[in-house]
């Protein structure tokens, strides 16, 4: 073994180090100076400190830009432009979550809340740069445990506790599945780094697939399937989304999703590049592509159909995000460079859109008395600006042009058709996706109907803090910009993936 240069490791992880220090500082700040202040002031001050820390962590990140890819600790962690870019995405999402949280009633434990939120961000960032099975597992656990704690933060509320317990139980079980799968993968390939696995898989190409390796892959995919909430591993999501404090829901639905999808993409596209199999119509062959095609199809159908009957906005958005996980899997199934680009582009659009939507829900529901559909009646009159933003976010989720969601979806579907342009082998999945987006428009419009069409019994204006309006407005602008002018991000991602 080559001697480990700890300086290099520290340099590569300096952003995470900044965040860890910030988390402790935030905790100390709250504990030492702000105990006696009222909760809103505490939230504001502690939140600002967290944001400063998050922004500071960008500085050490930027030093990695345009540097050649570095691999540390024997292939455990890697830093390249794509990884740095997605760490930036995580930081942005964390900043936005903090901003939303500053306006949300979190009870007495303000410092702890923001500290755990930052630990979660560290977990996500580690997950993005991890390239080795055990590191992936540890980072995933760090992320998940932070999120379990955050979910339970509505201390007085029963549904928050229930959600946290449910989330934890499912999460723990999925970790068991994942660990079990990883152990088989290690057992058959003799490697824990993705590149090592890739070599082993390549070497066994042509031979019959080892049943042990296949079992390992299956269990690992099940484990990841829990994390990204696809059918049939989605059962925790609606309850956790509904019960968690809304900013935490936003965090689970965006930051954690982005990181999990990113690492799943890397595991499958890098580690198991030789075991795709096929999901082309009439030419099904076993491999991860087929697994993902089936779970993706199920997610699109079940997520969209179940969302129709929901009366709670957060629960509806939970089912919609299950459906979106299904759309994202279409890009995986394409198993091509275009598919990977489409997945990453869609992840960014999806995360911003969902964060915006949950942000609006957080801001409005705390003032309108709840997050049921009827609490949003007549919002167009009571809070015209936030309603307009909600219109933009929801329509982007529905895939209406010229918003980001439309182009993201178009590109995902295009990548699937392109994977077998001769015989349209994946057209069945694309048709299912397109039909299901038509279904999804129905429930999205029902939500907008409650906001725009139905009259409210309570006509009082809802005033939200300016910083929140500006933040969410900027997110909406980003969503529009990604749809109207997707070229720069698309080309950036395409270029970065080439390096992978």
């Amino acid at each position: 073994m080559t001697p480990v240069s700890y300086f290099e490791v520290f340099k590569a992880l300096s952003a995470e180090a900044v965040l860890a220090v910030t988390a402790l500082a935030v905790l100390t700040l709250d504990l030492a100076w702000l105990r006696r202040a009222d909760p809103p002031t505490r939230r504001e001050k502690v939140g600002m400190a967290a944001i400063v820390g998050l922004l500071l962590s960008i500085i050490p990140l930027c030093q990695h830009f345009y540097h050649p890819r570095t691999v540390l600790l024997g292939g455990t962690l890697a830093v390249d432009d794509l990884i740095v870019f997605f760490k930036l995405v995580i930081i942005v999402l964390a900043v936005l979550t903090v901003l939303i949280s500053m306006d949300y009633d979190l009870g007495r434990h303000v410092g702890e809340y923001f500290a755990v939120l930052l630990f979660g961000a560290i977990g996500m960032m580690l997950l993005i740069s991890a390239e080795e099975l055990l590191t992936i597992f540890v980072a995933l656990e760090l992320t998940s445990i932070s999120l379990y704690i955050l979910t339970a933060f509505h201390k007085g509320e029963l549904r928050s506790q229930e959600a946290a317990v449910k989330y934890f139980m499912f999460g723990a079980m999925s970790s068991a599945f994942l660990l079990f799968g990883l152990s088989y993968i290690f057992g058959t390939t003799g490697a824990t780094s993705l590149l090592g696995i890739r070599e082993a898989v390549k070497a066994s190409a042509g031979m019959a697939m080892s049943p042990l390796l296949a079992t390992g892959l299956l269990f690992a995919i099940i484990g990841f399937g829990f994390k990204v909430a696809v059918v049939p591993f989605h059962l925790w999501a609606p309850d956790a989304y509904e019960g968690a404090p809304t900013p935490v829901t936003a965090y689970i639905a965006t930051g954690a999703k982005v990181a999990s999808f990113f690492i799943l993409l890397k595991v499958l596209f890098v580690g198991f590049a030789g075991m795709e199999g096929s999901a082309f119509w009439g030419h099904f062959a076993s491999g991860w592509v087929m697994l993902l095609a089936i779970t993706g199809a199920l997610s699109m159908v079940l997520g969209n159909c179940a969302a129709i009957v929901q009366h709670n906005v957060k629960r509806m958005l939970a089912y919609s995000s299950i459906a979106h996980a299904g759309y994202i899997f279409i890009g995986f199934v394409a198993a091509s460079r275009m598919g990977a680009t489409a997945v990453l582009f869609y992840l960014i659009v999806y995360a911003l859109t969902n964060l915006g939507a949950f942000g609006v829900v957080a801001a409005l529901s705390s003032r309108a008395g709840g997050d049921e559909m009827q609490n949003f009646h007549g919002m167009a009159k009571r809070a015209p600006f936030l309603s307009l933003l909600m219109l933009i976010f929801v329509l982007s989720l529905a895939g209406i042009p010229p918003l980001g969601g439309f182009f993201g979806k178009f590109y995902l579907f295009a990548s699937a058709v392109q994977a077998d342009a001769q015989h349209f082998g994946l057209l069945w999945l694309v048709i299912l996706g397109i039909v299901m987006s038509a279904v999804s428009l129905y429930y999205y419009l029902i939500l907008l109907k409650h906001i725009y069409v139905t009259d409210a019994s309570d006509q009082g204006r809802i005033i939200t803090p300016t910083y929140l309006n500006v933040t969410l407005g900027l997110v909406a602008l980003a969503v529009i910009a990604l749809g109207v002018y997707p070229k720069p991000i698309l080309e950036l991602l395409n270029g970065l993936i080439a390096a992978l």
């Binding site: 042009p401 058709v417 349209f424 397109i434 038509a438 428009l441 419009l445 069409v453 997707p486 070229k487």
Partner: protein, 513 residues
């Protein structure tokens, strides 16, 4: 200013309206009107320039070589070969002008809206701008973007400001359009990759050969997807409910312009790109169109609701458009395109009378409850008679010029098609006359049949004043006069539109099999 400014101006107008304070309703109305008029003037100026150019070309060379005038063509998304490409030719120009007129008159007919004025005009102008975009787009992706963008404002306009079962009608309309556009989406993707996956530009795609097998299964996807919005039988059922539920300006726009979006999409997206697919399917299209003509007219005949009559009449008249397009000969296709313009004006006028002049005043649309309006609001009566006459295909109005050409074109395809469509025209005469009679004249009969028992003989003397209605307002008169003038001008002097249409259809037919 090039004609693409119609899009930008209208979007800008929508943005300005959104920024105005919500209580200054008059200001909002005037800003909307100014936007509409501005866009219309831009469209008209360019229209006449283009018309002069076409006439000069035709007299110089005998025919047009390339009917397109490029406006803007820049790469938008290189990864997919998407271009921001706008262009005009003799096929979309009449429709652009139609949209301009319907926009202006729609705003005038919406002058009395008091509830959430600001949002109404913001949605309305967004819809108008997207429609301009669809007509001008020469890139299939761009066309699709504008097409889907047009769906959402319709929902809100109907669901918020509509009447009778508005939420149901609005949702039905949106779901139909969206399912239609889903079919188009699949078709577009399939076509894009079979044509090499390089470009979405329609004028480029025409040059890429697509195998006949692919054409045969992709053509119906795109055609039917668009035709849903054109009210093609049996996918027309959104149209009557949607039209009836919509507020006046929206039903004008739906029947007048949005249904043409569908037909236009069929022509540009399906027929231009899949000549062999068209060849394979054209008999199906023609017969389905004839069924639509007869079915729509027959159902209109038995309706009890005034607005439903007009709703079904739109289905019937759009059948002529599809029939004309399927003929694939010069006279039939030119007639179809002229019919799009003509029916746009006629339907707007009819819906304006039904929704604004009659329903907003009487608050009923049941034929049995109406009657004798000719003496109370004579202007509405005159307007309806003129629009009805144009709808029946009376010589002297644009409808005649259009429908006779479609009939002649269909005759050369098969005389039976003409016979079927002729039956439709007869039925049209019947339901229009029936509606005129029951709504505007049937006083004695109505009062006699209904009122002798309840009101007694004393009612006879006050026959006139059974309706105590506010008079027709100035914006209504202005708007109705604009539309009626158009009907007559195009009817008496069709060449101002037909010349450019014919010249461009000729080019299309040269490329067709």
């Amino acid at each position: 200013m090039q004609v693409d400014w119609t899009i930008y101006l209208t979007f800008l107008g929508a943005g300005v309206v959104l920024l105005l304070p919500r209580d200054s309703k008059t200001l909002i109305r005037w800003v909307a009107l100014a936007t509409g008029v501005g866009a219309l003037l831009v469209a008209l100026k360019n229209y006449f320039d283009y018309n002069a150019w076409v006439n000069a070309e035709v007299s110089a060379h005998g025919a047009l070589r390339d009917g397109f005038q490029q406006i803007v063509n820049v790469v938008w998304i290189p990864a997919l070969g998407v271009h921001y490409h706008l262009a005009v030719d003799g096929i979309n120009f009449p429709l652009v002008v139609l949209n301009g007129f319907v926009c202006v008159t729609g705003i005038l007919f919406s002058w009395n809206i008091e509830n959430r004025v600001k949002e109404f005009f913001a949605f309305f102008l967004t819809l108008i701008a997207s429609v301009y975009g669809v007509f001008l787009a020469m890139d299939l992706f761009l066309l699709f973007v504008f097409y889907e963008l047009a769906i959402i404002p319709k929902y809100f306009i109907i669901a918020i400001w509509g009447s009778t079962r508005k939420e149901y009608g609005a949702m039905k309309l949106v779901m139909y359009s969206f399912v239609g556009s889903a079919l188009v989406f699949i078709g577009i993707l399939a076509m894009f990759f079979s044509a090499g996956g390089q470009t979405f530009d329609i004028l480029e795609l025409v040059k890429h050969p697509i195998t006949r097998d692919v054409q045969i299964w992709v053509f119906p996807l795109i055609f039917v997807g668009f035709a849903v919005l054109a009210g093609m039988w049996p996918f027309h059922t959104w149209a009557p409910t949607g039209h009836v539920a919509a507020p006046t300006a929206a039903s004008m726009l739906l029947a007048g312009v949005v249904m043409k979006l569908g037909a236009y999409g069929c022509l540009r997206g399906a027929m231009m790109l899949f000549p062999q697919g068209l060849e394979y399917w054209r008999w199906w299209i023609a017969w389905i169109a004839v069924i639509g003509i007869v079915y729509g007219a027959a159902v209109a005949l038995v309706q009890k609701d005034f607005k439903f009559i007009i709703g079904y009449s739109s289905v019937s008249h759009m059948g002529f458009v599809l029939l004309g397009l399927a003929t694939l000969n010069l006279i039939g296709m030119s007639g179809a395109i002229l019919q799009m313009f003509s029916h746009g004006i006629v339907a707007s006028l009819l819906f304006a009378v039904v929704g604004r002049m009659v329903y907003d005043r009487t608050h009923t649309r049941q034929l049995d409850e109406l009657g004798g309006l000719a003496r109370v609001i004579p202007f509405a009566c005159v307007t309806f008679v003129i629009a009805g006459a144009a709808s029946m295909g009376m010589p002297g109005f644009s409808g005649f010029v259009a429908e006779i050409q479609v009939l002649i074109g269909a005759f050369s395809m098969s005389p039976w098609l003409t016979v079927g469509a002729g039956v439709g025209i007869l039925l049209t005469v019947a339901y229009i006359l029936n509606a005129i009679h029951k709504v505007f004249f049937a006083e004695e009969e109505h009062v006699g049949g209904n009122a002798t028992s309840s009101h007694g003989p004393g009612h006879e003397g006050e026959g006139d004043s059974r309706w105590n209605l506010p008079p027709i307002s100035v914006p209504e008169i202005v708007a109705a006069l604009i539309l009626m003038t158009l009907l007559v001008i195009v009817g008496l002097c069709p060449s101002i539109m037909l010349n450019m249409i014919k010249a461009n259809v000729e080019i299309f037919l040269r490329g067709a099999p």
